[in-house]
Symmetry: C2
Subunit: 453 residues, 2 copies
């Protein structure tokens, strides 16, 4: 491996430049205006796989394309399926970025750009690692497949049918995913759990048109007020979600899991100070780490009603919109939760108002099998690459496809991510620590060797 | 008067064309981008006064200009001060207009345009009426002044100092205002009460930046949720506003006033059907007419937080904004109400969130002296012009300057408006009934004669 690691050392500048090329493409999957850019990004990723020596294909879907790659010449050796996504979140609010979101910029060793950590900088490590093996030895120690999608940020609607339709093509021994952060800077981490998601949109309507609040104020339901009342009824004053049946399928934390959580290095005061809040807040009876990874939550993601421009418009709005999502934990089912949510909010609508509920998307929660040999191989690779034994922890985010891989391909997933905890995922100034990036490439290269045995 | 009324009959097309010219100017006072258009509208109004034979002046203010006009050659006769406003509400949401808001269009005898009823089509009747007198007889039967402002829709901030600074110039016997609708189509109406206004904007902040709802969901206050909780605490389930002290200065309705209200023609079912609601809603213990004109109300006018575009962005927002206004009745004071509101909402903010409250503008409520001789003259003029005895009723909207005229000039105001009840004020498809427009010009011309005696 010494030769490969030395090759990687020599290729640092090129790896950096190649990642920046990908980051300059605004592959915002949720925005129809960016459809062409998402397509262009798929082409760039496929071309990068080819240059690394991995045969690639672009599969169109009804949404954004899937990029597939494979190198299958290690007969008798196991097969790893690397999953990642080349689409990114919208950069809004753009004005809060220190440097433009699609112009990669380095400050203090951090690479700032939308997608740097989520997920372009992370799936890239596996391409660079495979390339180093192929360049140095002319072969990989095991078989490798890549599955890189363009719809992760909008619910992977077309990936699940793709996986179902290509079970043979995607057959493997394990799935490798790099789309999670270190638990703390300098502390390599294998993620053993991910939360699921149910994301819905509510439209409350009062009168059938906007009204003058002077002439009609006091006569009809105000949908903005009624939506606020509805939202206020979704949790009690202990932070517990009031949707009937919501907690029925939640696996309770065992005393042993809670002890493990308590051992992780975590400074509540520093965490609150970093976020600029006077106090943290969440479900009573759980620690912040438990609340953000092992407990389900409900968040308002967006609100819109009436006049939101400058100054005062005395309108009594006809409509009000809220986007509300719930993070789910094993064994909650997103379809069932969406149904319970819809029933509950529908029951809260008073006469004189109407409510429409749209189910935008969902993802299943995931709990890993930490005894899998690939998980142990990943742990050894991380320790060699970063000089520190990794910790195992759960993440609060959602990578719903992990549950699909288990369901449709019968595969376990390993989450070996190299983000940093304060990476501003989905927010302005998203960034990736460049030392994690280069270390991640080393770890990905070592993993191939370790797992091949 | 026969000659004048016949002249008005001949001038119908010209009056229509001239009103359309004014309506084509998008004099949206709240939007800084339209500053030039507001200025252009002031010039057009001043020019129109001059053409009518009324000497006019444009007075710059720190905001939009005041247009003043006068004809003072009726020695020994009373002086009427006509007040109106040439600014308009924003046309948003523009896509809900049947025809473009600044392209006046007639459908079924109604003139559709932003400002048709509020207030360009209404103050115009007094210019046309004066012109007919001057054209036909070379003089007016009394002295006439015009005070037409460009900031009514944003709180008349610079009109009050203007009135204070020009008490002598504005001296008169009574103020005539046409900025209210008929109580019902075909039923001429003199308005005897107007509500006041306190309009505030709230900014709730949680973390100091937008966060990923997966990574941070469950850790911090969500400002959109907290703002919703705050709004939900502003009224009880009887529709009563919970701000301590809010009702202290409200003059209770007398049994006689309530009887008068009950006598007005009003069909609750038709009113609800017109608004497209299954049920009306407001403060318990009062009728819809009382709620919309004689009782104070609180309405959410706007909400904004997080992601409001297409699709699902899993953001835990940093900020949430609400615009909230209260309609006030005699003798509530907008400054005092804004103070009570601010104290109350500030007391509702939990630890981990911060609230900023901006007081955008206020206006005093108004109750008329219905025994004034000018009110009786207006009633006779309306009866002759429309062939029907007018009713007296209160309006739910706010024309705060009426309270200022009483305070600074010692003047009563007469509200002789010619709008229609379903005129879509401040909403898409605002319109004015053209028969009310032509009848209004007749009534304005007759009023000058009736009041001159």
């Amino acid at each position: 491996m010494r030769e490969i690691l030395s090759q990687l050392e020599n290729d640092r500048q090129r790896h950096f430049d190649e990642l920046c090329d990908l980051l300059r493409i605004p592959s915002v999957s949720t925005d129809p205006k960016h459809k062409g850019e998402v397509q262009r990004c798929a082409q760039a990723v496929a071309a990068r796989l080819e240059r690394a020596g991995i045969r690639s294909e672009i599969h169109p879907t009804e949404g954004h394309p899937v990029v597939y790659g494979e190198w299958l010449e290690a007969q008798g050796k196991p097969t790893v399926l690397v999953y990642g996504h080349y689409d990114v979140q919208p950069p809004d609010p753009v004005e809060l970025w220190t440097s433009p979101p699609f112009e990669p910029t380095v400050r203090a060793g951090q690479l700032y750009a939308r997608g740097a950590a989520d997920d372009k900088g992370q799936f890239f490590i596996h391409i660079a690692a495979a390339e180093a093996h192929l360049k140095t030895r002319g072969r990989l120690p095991l078989n490798l497949k890549f599955l890189l999608e363009g719809e992760e940020e909008i619910g992977s609607a077309h990936l699940e049918p793709f996986v179902q339709a290509h079970q043979k093509k995607l057959a493997a021994d394990v799935v490798m995913v790099s789309d999670t952060p270190f638990f703390a800077r300098g502390l390599p981490t294998i993620c053993t759990g991910l939360r699921g998601l149910a994301y819905l949109e509510l439209h409350m309507t009062g009168a059938d048109r906007d009204l003058h609040s002077g002439t009609y104020g006091g006569a009809v339901r105000n949908p903005a007020e009624e939506l606020a009342r509805l939202i206020a009824q979704l949790k009690d004053d202990q932070g517990r979600i009031l949707i009937p049946g919501f907690y029925d399928d939640v696996r309770p934390l065992s005393p042993r899991e809670r002890e493990e959580y308590a051992r992780l290095p975590f400074d509540e005061a520093a965490y609150a100070a970093d976020l600029g809040v006077e106090a943290l807040h969440g479900e009573n009876g759980y620690t912040t780490l438990e609340r953000t990874s092992a407990r389900p939550t409900l968040e308002v993601n967006g609100l819109l009603s009436g006049w939101t421009g400058e100054g005062s418009k005395t309108v009594l709005p006809s409509r009000a919109m809220a986007k509300i999502s719930m993070r789910l934990v094993a064994d909650q089912d997103p379809a069932q939760i969406a149904k319970l949510f819809t029933e509950h909010v529908s029951s809260l609508v008073p006469r004189g108002a109407r409510l429409e509920v749209l189910n935008l998307h969902g993802g299943r929660p995931f709990l890993a099998d930490s005894g899998h040999p690939a998980v142990q191989a990943a742990a050894r690779a991380l320790e060699q690459a970063f000089g520190k034994r990794p910790v195992f922890s759960r993440e609060g985010g959602t990578i719903p496809i992990a549950a699909s891989f288990r369901q449709h391909l019968g595969l376990n997933s390993i989450f070996m991510g190299i983000g940093v905890p304060d990476e501003n995922l989905h927010a302005p100034d998203e960034h990736l620590d460049l030392e994690n990036f280069y270390g991640g490439i080393r770890a990905a290269a070592l993993f191939l060797q370790e797992y091949a045995g």
